[in-house]
Symmetry: C2
Amino acid sequence: MAPTTQAGAGTAGTRDRIVEAAAEGFARRGYAGTGLKAILGASHAPFGSLYHFFPGGKEELGAAAIRASGATYRELVEMFFPEGVDVVAATYDFFVGAAEVLVATDYADACPIATIALETASDSEPMRLASAEVFESWLEVLQQRLVEAGVNTATARDVAVELFCAIEGGFLHCRATRTTEALEIAGRAGVARVAGVLPSAP
Amino acid sequence: MAPTTQAGAGTAGTRDRIVEAAAEGFARRGYAGTGLKAILGASHAPFGSLYHFFPGGKEELGAAAIRASGATYRELVEMFFPEGVDVVAATYDFFVGAAEVLVATDYADACPIATIALETASDSEPMRLASAEVFESWLEVLQQRLVEAGVNTATARDVAVELFCAIEGGFLHCRATRTTEALEIAGRAGVARVAGVLPSAP
């Protein structure tokens, strides 16, 4: 019996709740540190529902949680970088916003998938591929906005990847030091870099 | 009975082996993913020795492993950035070397403490503080070499933090995608940035 045949409105809600609870646990305590029992408890789901929706077990749930977190974060990136945005101002706002969220959450909420991505990159192809897909989906937004702002495709790719690295590395430093120093420094550098590759105003 | 009174040459070797095995496990599989049993097995140490050397248990061992990995990696940074080095060439070599190690280890060996630092930043003050200390010890080397090359202290700090973020973010992207793209892009940008802040040659 295929999971989809049983997935009415009620069970679809259960699946979403499981994925949401898993994503939150993996983001905050990592993949190995978040047990299935805790996920089921947080999502008020019966044990059987886990293997009903995720026959591949925790690994399949892990990949689904990575994709779900990734899609939510992509929406955030799109909110900061909507079509037609001033990319320099948006870059500044994104780094400032990331630092503000860190402070507001006591340095807990940073990249939703960095921990699980590092934990699983060498051990699980399904989770590694999900992480790679998610990172690429974020890069696409940045790259696209830079191209629309007149930056050539190759440079837009470079700058998008540089911004990604700056933010991810900044998150790591900020969480460990409980300061916003790295995101401030990396943000200033990122803003200058974006401004530097834009074609001069007419 | 204080641990030090029992720690002769033999037991000191045991402590080092436990820390080494823990550091390797935490770097490869993360903190939660590496059990004490596996660590003791890998270090050929009896169970009692763990609590003898680390009365604080896994958390104390975690902090010791972070500091040990951090010290080894600092030596690597110092090897690439010895006193009097051409900092532009050293920056290039460091990014290239990091990418080569990734490829040679099937994308496993990157930052030795990034995974455990992210996993534990919100849950363990001793491990968070150890991570922060280690990151600062690496930044010190970069910052010092930049100052010796004639860069003012504030800019040297900025560039050191930017390079740190570029490498750490690059490691994350490279491990997830199993490509060296991000370290190549971030490395080119890092080299240009370092070259751009050096005082002009006389």
